[in-house]
């Protein structure tokens, strides 16, 4: 017989505490995971349920309440009767039955009012529930409604994350660093605005379609950038906004496969997200693109970004929009295994196209940086000096920072030092300020 090792916590010579004999207790029951399953299924399905119900009741606020009612019904019934085979469909049909009942009650009420001589002309015609195949269209209607221009940017963001991203009010508040009541208020007001302004629950097909789609894409990009700007010390919910936005973009790509700008946005986000692991150093300090360890870039996301960019190009008909162009620039960086291999002249060309398509001084500044890499500092300085009087860049620290860099490379030392000092006085980021002051001091 081989001696059995004894666990270190219990050597055989340890005196055992005397214990009263315990009655044998039954094994603890296995934890019931039904509640967790219900919560999970509901969170996964809620955008589609809200969308499908909104089609019937024509009001996203009421639709969300009816979806919640279906959740309550599931919490009552499933622990008793077991989880249905198709839990998503169960929730959907429960919510939709309630929606149809509600519309009928409204109609009856309207008819009764009409019988006693009152006119209720704004009663909507009855909406039959859509087939499950139509759910994609309903989701798309929900996207356009949540990002409607009658709402403020903050309201669009909050409503999109709430209704389509499945985030709770608490999660949105934490991610955006605002008090929870503020977010709750925003969402309540947004729903009320959509109802009082009679915003149609539909996908725009008229002349304003492009502008409305632009608004949807901007909301998703804004959510992504909020997460991208978060630092390592932040609550994890902040950086996770990047993934929420990426998921929304991927969903939208599936819903609108013929829209080049949707694929362009998805490509841009996949490519930017691919750099996440390399963007911060060991103590959370930001690492510039040229200093990033590119072996830490996520190759799967890069491949997905290239695929999405290919779709964008294939559908763009040779007229690239701003998101496609930005994705193409991000792809140039992703193609280069080292910073030295970057195709700067292509990047400069793409920035030129972007500046022509949607002019902005920040784009122009980026173009100048690309030109300085491909043609040298003198050519870039011409572009930067043309921006000197631009009021939007007056307090933008990157303008003197870029200009200082160009002057330093041209050997115009005193001017370079002055620019770095000015940039340091403008930046709000402590680490960046240190870097700029060091560069100023380095000038011989």
């Amino acid at each position: 017989m081989t001696p059995q090792p004894t666990p270190a916590s219990q050597s055989p010579s340890d005196p055992q505490p005397a214990e009263a004999p315990q009655p044998a207790s039954p094994p603890p029951p296995r934890p019931d995971r039904t509640a967790e399953v219900i919560e999970t299924v509901f969170r996964m399905e809620s955008p589609r349920i809200i969308a499908g119900v909104a089609r019937v009741v024509r009001d996203v606020g009421i639709a969300e309440e009816l979806a919640q009612d279906a959740l309550v019904a599931a919490l009552e019934q499933w622990p008793r009767d077991g989880v249905p085979d198709n839990p998503g469909a169960w929730l959907m049909s429960t919510a939709r039955h309630r929606a149809v009942d509600l519309v009928r009650r409204r109609e009856n009420y309207a008819r009764k009012l009409a019988e006693i001589g009152r006119d209720l002309s704004e009663t909507a015609p009855p909406q039959e529930p859509a087939d499950l195949d139509d759910i994609d269209d309903d989701l798309l209607r929900l996207v356009f409604t949540a990002c409607h221009p009658v709402l403020s940017t903050e309201a669009r963001t909050a409503l999109t994350l709430r209704l389509l991203g499945g985030l709770t009010t608490t999660e949105i508040a934490r991610a955006f660093l605002v008090p929870e009541p503020t977010v709750a208020q925003r969402i309540v007001r947004a729903k009320r605005t959509l109802a009082t302004k009679n915003v149609a629950f539909e996908v725009p097909h008229g002349p304003d379609r492009e502008a409305r789609l632009g608004s949807v894409l901007d909301v998703i990009y804004l959510i992504f950038n909020e997460g991208y700007a978060a630092t390592a010390g932040d609550d994890w919910l902040r950086p996770s906004l990047c993934e929420d936005a990426l998921r929304l973009a991927r969903v939208l790509s599936g819903l609108m496969p013929k829209e080049p700008e949707v694929h362009g946005l998805t490509a841009l986000l996949e490519l930017q997200a691919s750099r996440t692991a390399a963007r911060t150093g060991p103590s959370g300090e930001p690492v510039l693109l040229k200093d990033q360890n590119r072996s830490r870039w996520n190759r799967m996301l890069i491949a997905r970004g290239f695929t999405a960019l290919g779709r964008a190009e294939a559908t763009s008909g040779g007229a690239p929009g701003p998101y496609l162009l930005q994705a193409a620039i991000a792809a140039c960086h992703a193609h280069a295994y080292t910073y030295e291999e970057t195709d700067w002249s292509r990047i400069a060309t793409l920035y030129g196209l972007l500046a022509a398509r949607s002019p902005s001084p920040v784009v122009e500044l980026n173009r100048a940086v690309a030109v300085s890499m491909s043609e040298g500092p003198a050519a870039a300085l011409v572009l930067v000096d043309a921006l000197a009087g631009d009021p939007t860049l007056r307090d933008y620290h990157l303008l003197p920072s870029v200009r200082g860099d160009l002057l330093a490379r041209l050997g115009r030392t005193p001017e370079a030092r002055a620019e770095f000092e000015r940039a340091a006085s403008l930046t709000r980021n402590e680490r960046e300020r240190e870097l700029l002051l060091r560069r100023a001091a380095e000038q011989p």
Binding site: T40, S240, L246, R247, G254, M300
Partner: protein, 118 residues
């Protein structure tokens, strides 16, 4: 939002020799479309039988290569998916939906593993 690697393990000796039925392939195609449209699926594929595979081992400072089939393993990996989900509960829910598409004569174990992110 964490990413998950789901490994689909099957018993090659008892799996249907003709592979998935056309109906199952059809159901899988529809579910895959749904998971993709939900923005969840990043990558997925089935693997060819282990008779096409090899194992490369490093042990005691020695390399060895063993060609398949891996008859000594009761279960071998028959497919995988990489998905991005809010949490493990969501990854498990999608996995359940995938498994329950199969006919009753299948025995499959799906191992849901979170991908370590740094």
């Amino acid at each position: 939002m964490p990413r998950f690697l789901t490994l689909i393990r099957i018993d090659e000796k008892n799996a249907p020799a003709e592979g998935p039925s056309p109906e199952l392939m059809d159901r899988m195609g529809r579910l895959l479309e749904e998971i993709t449209k939900a923005g969840v699926m990043l990558d997925t594929a089935g693997l060819t039988p282990t008779s096409d595979g090899s194992r490369v081992t490093w042990e005691g400072g020695q390399l060895s290569v063993t060609d398949g089939p891996f008859t000594e393993s009761k279960e071998v990996i028959g497919g995988y998916s990489i998905s991005q989900c809010k949490d493990k509960a969501e990854a498990i829910e999608w996995t359940k939906r995938f498994l329950s598409l199969h006919e009753d004569y299948w025995t499959i174990t799906a191992e849901v593993r979170q991908i370590a992110e740094d």
